[in-house]
């Protein structure tokens, strides 16, 4: 079958949404399909949104037997056999409307854009033959905002057999983009309240220079430079595997994220427990408190307490690591399941 995988991107910014498309491509090719990836640029600026949505509407992929669409507004591409693996809305106009992350005023103009966008999205979504999402959170939002039913299809990581456990050192790792909404600052703030010599390793690239600079400054102010390492770049897959193999646990506490997040799934494959917070959204679909990690209040003090427990009770920490691995099978997180559903 000729399959086009369609998504949007901002050039030169890497992220999880791009990986899933490329991984799916290699798996579909292994199964004998012809695959073309169609990445189109999109800037989520309110003024420029509708003109770009029109561009997606004008994309002609008739020669494909089916298309599978990922990031917005790729779901607007017309096709007789359109499948959606819907990852998120343009969130500022949906669930983030009533949040500090909206980024523009709640006025007549933006409300008009919001309502029109929701109508167009609804129409584009209804054209699809099948709609899958990457999480409970996103399925709930589709139901709530667009009155559309969908099926959860958890995205697996690529070549998960690479991940392994080689012991437990004193370090909690956090491997994801270094951005304010990923809240590395909360982890840094927490470290000053710990009673144990537990350490923190933060790795990841940033879109801007401000957040990593502030983070680095805060680490110095708190006198934590010998207990925190901040590696502000996109580390290699090999480095990631090695860090996860040896760490004590993995922290992942984005603010109300859509999906469970690859960092937590990768940690699970390495049999490491996950440290997260009660407001982290999709991560809570994977993590169960005291089972395969700890879920704390999003405060430095509560996080510090969990960090100490991870450090002190090694038996429990290791047991939670094993459970983290088992949890993946429980949720049917595998590529064979994904292929079966997308090609149905």
């Amino acid at each position: 079958m000729k399959i086009a995988l369609c998504s949007s991107l901002v050039p030169f910014i890497n992220g999880g949404a791009r990986n899933i498309v490329e991984w799916l491509k290699s798996l579909l090719e292994e199964h004998g399909h012809q695959v073309e990836i169609v990445y189109l640029p999109e800037v989520d600026s309110p003024e420029l949104l509708f003109q770009q949505m029109m561009a997606f509407r004008w994309v002609d992929l008739e020669m494909a037997d089916r298309i599978i669409c990922f990031r917005p507004e790729a779901h607007l591409i017309p096709h007789r056999h359109k499948i959606l693996w819907f990852i998120h809305h343009i969130r500022a106009f949906y669930d983030l409307w009533d949040s500090p992350y909206r980024g523009f005023p709640d006025d007549l103009k933006h409300r008009g854009i919001r309502d029109a966008l929701r109508r167009v999205d609804g129409a584009g979504l209804r054209e699809a033959k099948a709609i899958f999402t990457n999480s409970r959170v996103v399925s709930d939002r589709l139901k709530h905002f667009n009155q559309i039913d969908s099926e959860i299809l958890y995205p697996p990581v690529f070549q998960s057999e690479r991940f392994r456990c080689a012991g437990f050192n004193d370090e909690i790792v956090c491997i994801c983009r270094v951005e304010h909404h990923k809240r590395q600052h909360l982890l840094v703030e927490a470290l000053q309240h710990t009673q144990t010599p537990v350490r923190l390793r933060l790795s990841g690239a940033s879109a801007g220079a401000d957040y990593p600079r502030d983070l680095s400054q805060r680490i110095s102010e708190l006198g934590l430079t010998d207990r925190v390492s901040l590696d502000n770049r996109w580390i290699s897959e090999e480095e990631k595997v090695a860090q996860l193999a040896h760490c004590l646990a993995a922290a992942y506490l984005p603010l109300d994220e859509d999906s469970y997040g690859y960092p937590s799934v990768e940690a699970s494959h390495a049999s490491k427990p996950i440290l997260t917070t009660s407001d982290s959204g999709g991560v809570l679909e994977l993590v169960q408190d005291g089972m395969n990690g700890y879920i704390t209040e999003p405060s430095p003090e509560a996080l510090a307490d969990a960090m100490d427990r991870l450090y002190l009770d090694r038996t429990k920490t290791e047991a939670m690591g094993i459970s983290a691995r088992d949890r993946l099978a429980e949720l049917n997180i595998s590529w064979s399941h994904v292929l079966q559903r997308l090609l149905a």
């Binding site: 086009a4 020669m63 494909a64």
Partner: protein
């Protein structure tokens, strides 16, 4: 600098333009830039849907990009304040092919309007570009004639020159590249049938259609050349192709009226191999100088037979032709670092 290469894509088809974009990206990175390729789908049938796809390209927003290098229609319509065009070709069916009556645009007023629309959009896009380069003299002339833009020719370098160091001359003439009627491999077979019995020929490359392959196989049979010809008709791994070039005595390439120098000739010259072409091969004659870098034959079997025999008559002469071919190619200074620098000027 963040450089975005913008190219059109015919979904599920990979060809020379895709290879060029990939190597441009690689060489931008070598030159210390960040580089990505944006491939915009374009479907030219039915022609009625061309305008909406032009609007599609025009409606995209690029953010986080310092410089755009655009290659093909309609991808080069994309808006960016720093846009350089390396024009591989325009939509020829609105230009020279339209005039020649070989267009997919509908007849009558509708086709005229489409042609006008395409030309106007091109005009606007060329005017807003920082620099325009073409990949051949033919494309340059066409752009000048139809659009009035005087571009500079920037010939694409060999993508992987390190694969073509050359080597001892073997006992065969190599004919590489795509296999089809226009590339005239059949003419080489007819020449071989009349040539000195010492001459051997290796024809290798992807046939455009199963018929193209069958025609050559039948000719080998008919002319009784089975012990002097080897056919390897498939898409060759790059290493295999390079090996065939490096071990040959000479390289023959005789397409009909080609636009450019031709990768086959450029790669052979990189490997210091003597070249064989025909008087009507167009751009290839830029590299093949008769009695200097190789032989220019008339496009007939008799003449080609003489030339193919000459390759093995005097091996010292053949070698020196090869050295001259390399020297001529080197003197053109068509290298990736300079090309990248020019494109970002």
């Amino acid at each position: 600098m963040k450089v975005l290469i913008v190219n059109s894509m015919a979904p599920f088809v990979w060809g020379g333009a895709e290879e060029l974009a990939a190597h441009l990206q690689k060489n931008l990175v070598i030159a210390g830039h960040e580089a990505e390729i944006l491939r915009i789908p374009f479907q030219w049938e039915p022609a009625e849907r061309i305008p909406s796809q032009m609007l599609m390209v025009r409606a995209f927003e690029l953010w986080n990009v310092d410089h755009v290098i655009a290659l093909k229609f309609p991808a080069y319509l994309i808006r960016h304040p720093k846009k350089t065009l390396w024009l591989l070709h325009q939509y020829r069916q609105a230009y020279d092919l339209y005039d020649a009556g070989q267009t997919n645009l509908p007849p009558g007023q509708e086709g005229l309007e489409l042609k006008y629309l395409i030309r106007q959009a091109d005009q606007e896009s060329f005017a807003e570009s920082r620099n325009i380069f073409t990949n051949s003299e033919v494309t340059r002339q066409r752009l000048l004639k139809y659009n009035g833009f005087d571009a500079a020719v920037l010939l694409p370098p060999v993508n992987d020159p390190e694969l073509f160091p050359g080597g001892d001359n073997g006992d065969y003439i190599f004919a590489g590249g795509r296999v089809n009627g226009m590339k005239r491999q059949h003419l080489l077979l007819e020449g071989l049938a009349k040539a000195d019995a010492r001459v051997k020929l290796l024809i290798a490359g992807p046939p455009d259609s199963p018929d193209d392959a069958a025609r050559l196989q039948a000719a080998v049979e008919r002319l009784g050349l089975a012990d002097r010809v080897r056919l390897d008709l498939r898409f060759l791994p790059r290493q295999v192709y390079a090996e065939y070039v490096n071990r040959s005595a000479a390289v023959a390439y005789l397409p009909y009226d080609e636009d450019s120098l031709g990768y086959v000739a450029m790669e052979a010259a990189t490997a210091a191999k003597a070249l064989i072409t025909t008087a009507d091969s167009g751009g290839i004659l830029g590299l093949v100088k008769h009695g200097e870098t190789g032989w220019v034959a008339q496009p007939n079997a008799k003449d080609l037979a003489v030339v193919m025999g000459a390759v093995f008559e005097n091996s010292a002469r053949t070698k020196s032709y090869g050295q001259n071919a390399r020297a001529l190619w080197e003197s053109m200074k068509i290298k990736w670092p300079e090309t990248v620098e020019t494109l970002l000027r």
